[in-house]
Assembly symmetry: C3
Homo-oligomer: 162 residues x 3
Amino acid sequence: MSKPGPVEARLRELGIELPASQRPLANYVPSVRVGKLLFVSGVGPMRDGKPIMTGVVGKDVSIEQAQECAKWCAVNLLCLARDAVGLERVVRVVKLTGFVNSAPGFGDQPKVINGASDFLVQVLGDRGKHARAAVGAHGLPMGIPVEIEAVFEVDEGPGGIH
Amino acid sequence: MSKPGPVEARLRELGIELPASQRPLANYVPSVRVGKLLFVSGVGPMRDGKPIMTGVVGKDVSIEQAQECAKWCAVNLLCLARDAVGLERVVRVVKLTGFVNSAPGFGDQPKVINGASDFLVQVLGDRGKHARAAVGAHGLPMGIPVEIEAVFEVDEGPGGIH
Amino acid sequence: MSKPGPVEARLRELGIELPASQRPLANYVPSVRVGKLLFVSGVGPMRDGKPIMTGVVGKDVSIEQAQECAKWCAVNLLCLARDAVGLERVVRVVKLTGFVNSAPGFGDQPKVINGASDFLVQVLGDRGKHARAAVGAHGLPMGIPVEIEAVFEVDEGPGGIH
């Protein structure tokens, strides 16, 4: 068994074990890499194969609950990056786009997506700091409260990634 | 007249003829390339210059109808890639972001966007497999049911693209 | 004091003075660069630290007012590009994604985002022409009518950007 890298060790300290990745439910793939950029599909707050919560934020789901959802989106984004290139080759989280399933008049999308941003910085330090947009969606897959997609910068390595 | 490439031949087998591209209605351009990445503007289910359908999915528009819309979005994305670099230089569809004009409580955005994903894989094979996000919008241009934007990887060729 | 570059001179002709940048209110950064691509966070129509307007477009906010909001989003995107690399190193605006806080049935998102697109072309000429998507959001941060995120192509310079 290979020694866990520093990112995995940090995750352990935080009590997070990265689960096996979800398989996409449709005709698409978890991520596509072009050079140094890894484009990662939108993910929800899935845990053990199902959403930890569903509902509309500001109505059925509180900000605190939605932040927990955003954190689990970030966990799943890390899973997909691990599967694509390995966590030690993640140079940086470049960009998150966070969609919050919002009740009419809800305007705290940034607070919600902080659940993901704070987690990524906790795990990755400065490499976790990213550009970001947070917007209100009108419905998300399966009624999840939050969906987040990402772009990562990854290390191609001397001979590229194989 | 030049011989059609394999992608165009495959489109013909599927009974699809790529139309002439839509011109953007505003002060923007259909696509912009930076190196290997081609960023393609959001497109609707336009055919012969007008949307094949308008309305809200889950209310006015069924999932099957919305899938057909998503397919026509994908046709139009291919048109824009053809115009920018030629279809034979499309190395891969990297990423789709699919916006579904959703009724309250609608959560089948992934099924809808499958209309585009399935079509791209039918036409391009493995090169058509992409990362993806599917979210619910609250209103789309002209009331179209689906809008999809894309990033393609393209072959710059030995001397770059001219 | 260094001489203003041509972009700053053009802004002056248009009567626009780029303000000091807003600091992100959360655990993210204004922009992240990977090679030639600068990914800029979603920005609102902030001026002097607060939104010039809040409300839903098609209900509380007219198209003309929303266009002014979109223009101020573009001003703020330019600020962030200036802070990251300097305006003279902006090779091109590659892509805008414009989110319009939309009333039910509102379908003029493209007209609204034209407020940003027209402004960028006015300031940057052909370098301001970009790919674009315009969609309806259901709620935006603090109730702003418009949020826009961007990708810019930037000049890395002979020794890269320092």
